[in-house]
């Protein structure tokens, strides 16, 4: 999953920052992991629940496209909660 050399360190820093941000958001929402994964899978997500868990614990890097989907799943789930 790691891309060495090709990416600049700046880009890697940004990815790490985004990962921390998503992980922190997840902890704050207190959503059950299974619920988030199911929703994320439903909007086209491509990684399994264990990898998602690892990502949210900042233990795994995943492709940027998946990061965007996870963030979107969280946002849409929160909207559902509020209404």
């Amino acid at each position: 999953m790691y891309t060495d050399g090709g990416e600049g360190s700046e880009q890697r820093d940004r990815a790490a920052e985004e990962r921390r941000g998503t992980a922190e958001r997840f902890r704050k929402t207190d959503l059950p992991l299974a619920k988030l994964w199911t929703y994320y899978y439903g909007i086209g997500g491509g990684i399994d629940e264990v990898s998602l868990d690892a990502y949210l614990h900042e233990a795994l890097d995943i492709p940027a496209a998946q990061v965007a989907l996870i963030a979107m799943a969280m946002t849409e789930l929160m909207e559902g909660e509020a209404s």
Binding site: D30, A34, K35, T38, Y39, Y41, G42, I43, G44, P63, A65, A68, L69, M72, E76, E79
Partner: protein
């Protein structure tokens, strides 16, 4: 909510129900599992049964259930409005006998609010509401959730030793029924979530494929286009995908069939 008492909100005497034997209560609880459509319904029935079982003409008992959900204490069910208000009050203080029972996992009995030294601020307000004794019994739900049965009496020493052991036996019976209710609720919720995920994924995958063909781009790029449209227009990804398909084929409904 169901079964709100007609004399709700008062600490007056209530007619005593025909005493129920323990096996009778067991049967009643099993029926409640089958009848309750959801957890709140079950807990409301539970509070009503507990209240009517312990109330006597000169000692009316108000009963409520507080559940820890998403790390917050919530008064989810009660035998009447007075019990609900008292539960809410305690949760707003963030501390009190019921929350202590919940956290410690043990029964807490406050025989007389006037002489109790703990939970000063809450007990002061509670006695202004006419409460003189409180009994809190946690429901052991084996990690599925946390809940406590709260009982309020307008009399000091409103709960006898017998009452405490009755409620404890009752609570442990109720907890095992409740574990089943929770399990069923969680499973059916997970099933519904999966079914709706399959529906939405079909629509989204289809739209991604259409965008790939139209733009001669990769799957990731197609996803980017779709998520960008969703973000800028503040429309759910699924709805954006549906509108993409509508614009191409005019199809309004994409249904995924699967056996249940």
């Amino acid at each position: 909510m169901t079964a709100q008492d007609s004399s709700a909100g008062s600490f007056e005497a209530a007619p005593r129900e025909v005493p129920q034997s323990v096996s009778n209560i067991e049967l009643r609880l099993q029926e409640m599992v089958l009848d309750s459509r959801d957890v709140v319904g079950f807990l409301t029935d539970l509070a009503v049964v507990a209240s009517s079982r312990l109330s006597s003409p000169d000692n009316r008992i108000h009963s409520g259930v507080t559940v820890i959900r998403r790390k917050r204490a919530e008064a989810v069910a009660s035998s009447d409005a007075a019990a609900h208000a008292l539960d809410e009050l305690q949760n707003s203080f963030g501390d009190g006998p019921c929350l202590t029972a919940l956290r410690a996992g043990t029964t807490v009995l406050v025989s007389d609010l006037a002489v109790e030294r703990r939970w000063g601020a809450y007990l002061k307000v509670a006695s202004e509401h006419g409460v003189s004794s409180i009994l809190a019994v946690p429901l052991d739900l084996a990690g599925e959730a946390e809940a406590v049965l709260n009982l309020y009496s307008g009399r000091s020493n409103g709960f006898s030793e017998d009452d405490v052991s009755t409620v404890e036996a009752f609570a442990s019976q109720a907890a095992s029924s409740l574990r089943l209710v929770l399990r069923i609720t969680q499973l059916s919720e997970a099933r519904n979530d999966l079914a709706s995920a399959m529906q939405s994924r079909t629509v989204i995958d289809m739209a991604v494929g259409a965008i790939m063909a139209e733009n001669r781009c990769s799957r990731d790029t197609a996803f980017q286009i779709l998520t960008k449209a969703s973000n800028t227009r503040n429309i759910k990804l699924r709805d954006v995908a549906a509108s993409v398909i509508r614009s191409i084929s005019g199809e309004q409904q994409i249904v995924t069939y699967f056996d249940e």
